[in-house]
């Protein structure tokens, strides 16, 4: 349309002007573009981006491939940028789960298993679990090696997670004889003492043994009945049934135990222990101690905390200590428990009748929380029967004597019943003040 013949401009000023405008417009362009681009991408938080949604407009195959690559790169970047050992382990595990390359999977996880510097890293069970048993993985670790790792674990929670991870992994790798391997793996749990099962959720693993062992036994019995007997089937019918019964027995014991925790409860216990250790002296320490002694299921730990606090004369005189001490009322009759008589002695060291009353009340509340039986309640409240009417400062004791009378009926303790009823009725008819009135009067006297 146009000739390519060009006329040469001689307008020098125009040329210079154009060059100047060109440079200015380029500078303005790059500066403004940068501002706008940053403003546009600033709200994007990559960790919140759902790659599948972002790519949903693409065909499924392309979408899946791109999603895999995006997630892979994201995880790889996080792994490469990991600073702490824990972070590195977590990110290596996530990447290993994501990658489709078995060699890369092994290269990511084996260093954590083989390198002793990672031996104490929390969450190492993830690497072991991922490398566990898989027949398709030539570098997978054996059950024996896994047991050796389990033996090194000290933390009950970590140990539980390692057992659970092993069991779950066996269920995920698609074994044809998964139920047999499952029993094989979990069997050593039956040799553990009840105290080992500090985490109550082991119960589900014992349930696995119970059901799978029964299934193995039934399968063997069926084969024998159908004349398709395999070597060792006769022995298996009995041994596996016995194993199933043993597992059931242990499971019932674990479920009935008062000494174990759910995972969340155990985590809370660890937090409370930490809080107690770090609590400032005075009220914060006693408050933290109260939370811990209430939460822990170990009477020995409860006793140790109380003994430690009583070493300080300030705490021994502090009425808040009564609240802490009263928590041993739930331990009556348990091994390693502090004697309840120690609590009685401690209560009697307080001169203020209000403190004494509150001590007994708190202890009774603790017992009610455990649905303690009459014998235990009587053990707690019996010293109150030694009191005469004149020694009882306020009417609120009525409820305690009423409680004693009901326990006495159950225990067939005639003298205790008569005394408690007598004191209860006498208090009812007396002109003694209630606790509220007593406190008000005390306040007015001051």
């Amino acid at each position: 349309m146009f000739s390519s013949k060009k006329t040469i401009t001689r307008h020098k000023t125009a040329t210079i002007g154009m060059v100047v405008v060109l440079f200015i417009s380029l500078a303005v362009y790059f500066a403004s573009e940068t501002i706008l681009r940053h403003a546009m991408v600033k709200p994007i938080k990559r960790e919140k981006v759902d790659f599948a949604k972002v790519l949903d407009w693409l065909p499924q195959k392309t979408r899946e491939e791109l999603k895999y690559r995006a997630t892979y790169l994201d995880l790889r970047q996080k792994y490469d940028q990991s600073k702490t050992k824990e972070e590195k382990l977590q990110n290596a595990y996530k990447l290993a789960v994501h990658t489709k390359d078995m060699n890369e999977h092994n290269e990511l996880l084996l260093p954590f298993i083989n390198d002793p510097q990672y031996a104490d890293v929390p969450g190492l069970y993830l690497a072991y679990g991922r490398m566990f048993y898989n027949p398709k993985n030539p570098k997978a670790i054996s059950i024996k090696r896994y047991y050796a790792y389990l033996d090194t674990l000290k933390d009950p929670l970590e140990l539980f997670f390692a057992w659970r991870e092993g069991r779950d992994r066996l269920g995920k790798i698609g074994l044809r004889n998964a139920h047999i391997v499952n029993v094989e793996f979990l069997k050593p749990l039956l040799d553990k003492p009840l105290s080992f099962f500090i985490i109550r959720d082991y119960s589900s693993m014992l349930d696995n043994i119970k059901r799978n062992a029964k299934r193995i036994s039934n399968d063997a019995a069926n084969r024998i009945a159908n004349k398709r007997e395999l070597p060792g089937d006769k022995e298996q019918v009995g041994s596996m049934m016995q194993l199933s019964l043993d597992a059931e027995k242990l499971q019932n014991a674990v479920n009935a135990s008062l000494d174990n925790y759910s995972i969340n409860d155990y985590r809370k216990l660890l937090t409370l222990r930490d809080k107690f250790e770090k609590a400032a002296p005075g009220k914060p320490k006693l408050d933290a101690a109260f939370d811990l002694v209430r939460h822990t299921k170990d009477p020995k730990e409860r006793g140790n905390i109380i003994k430690e606090l009583l070493k300080s004369p300030d705490y021994a005189k502090n009425p808040l200590m009564l609240r802490v001490y009263a928590q041993i009322a739930g331990d009556i009759g348990r091994a390693n428990a502090m004697p309840i008589t120690d609590f009685h002695k401690f209560v009697s060291t307080f001169q203020d009748p209000e403190n004494q009353y509150q001590g007994f009340l708190e202890a009774l509340r603790r017992q009610n929380g455990f649905r303690a039986d009459s014998e235990k309640k009587m053990a707690l409240l019996r010293p109150l029967l030694k009191k005469d009417l004149k020694d009882i400062p306020f009417k609120d004791y009525q409820s305690l004597y009423d409680q004693i009378s009901r326990c006495a009926v159950y225990l067939n303790d005639q003298p205790a019943f008569e005394k408690s009823i007598q004191l209860r009725d006498a208090l009812k008819g007396s002109d003694k003040p209630t606790l509220k009135e007593y406190l008000e009067a005390k306040k007015n006297t001051k």
């Binding site: 013949k5 380029l26 362009y29 573009e33 501002i35 546009m40 972002v54 790519l55 995006a70």
Partner: protein
Amino acid sequence: MWAIAQFSLLKMRESAFYLLMIVAALICIFTNTADPVSEQIARGSLFSYAFSGETRTTSIAMGSCVALIISILISSFYGSSEIPSDINTGVILVILSKPVGRFNYLGGKYIAIVVMAYSIFVFLQLMLFVSSKFFGFGVIPYNSWEVALRQFVPALILLPLIAANITFSIMGGALGAMIFTALYLIFSVVVAFVPLTMAIFPEGMIPYLDDFLFLIHYIFINPLFYFHDAAATGMPLVALVFYSMAVAAFFLLISIYLLFTTDMNAAQ
């Protein structure tokens, strides 16, 4: 310069133009009953990142988008033929033989097309405002300055686009300009997603190609800037104005260079 612009704007007086405006207004009003642009897109999708910032800002009405498309179309048709027809008919030689420089000629033409495009856009916005305010049409009520001004931000794209259209018209004639402008706009939209996807996806998503694509994206206008919530206020809005002016200036410079170096006699 203004005389050239006035001369070009005379075409707006034609009755066909008024008829076109009435039809355009009706289309805008009826499309305005659809949900705003940001509501048309699934949350979390790539397109939602292209339009929405962190904070919820006033949405762009669907009618405004249609008004912008109509403005772009009419200004492209008009801008594509304006200078080539002057060259083909020799009018440009008559004009340039008068004491009118090429700068003034090009400036006049550019201003004329910009004025026309914005007149169309403002007229359509006015229609949308009236239909919303007095007749209750539209999903977004035009009840504040903020809403009204938000509708005008995307229209800033007309500045660089008209300049590009003029450049293409000098290079390739009327038909070529229309095709080049359409292609340039399509590529601009596609390439505009490059910085966005680079921010969303991890580094190395497209090995060796992402740096190249990032360089390529500088050649095209980024239409997403004009629609993104982040550029609706404050510093980014100022940057958007400068960005539009810089791109327009760049294309006009090419145009002026072409006007200086093209043999007008040979075209006849």
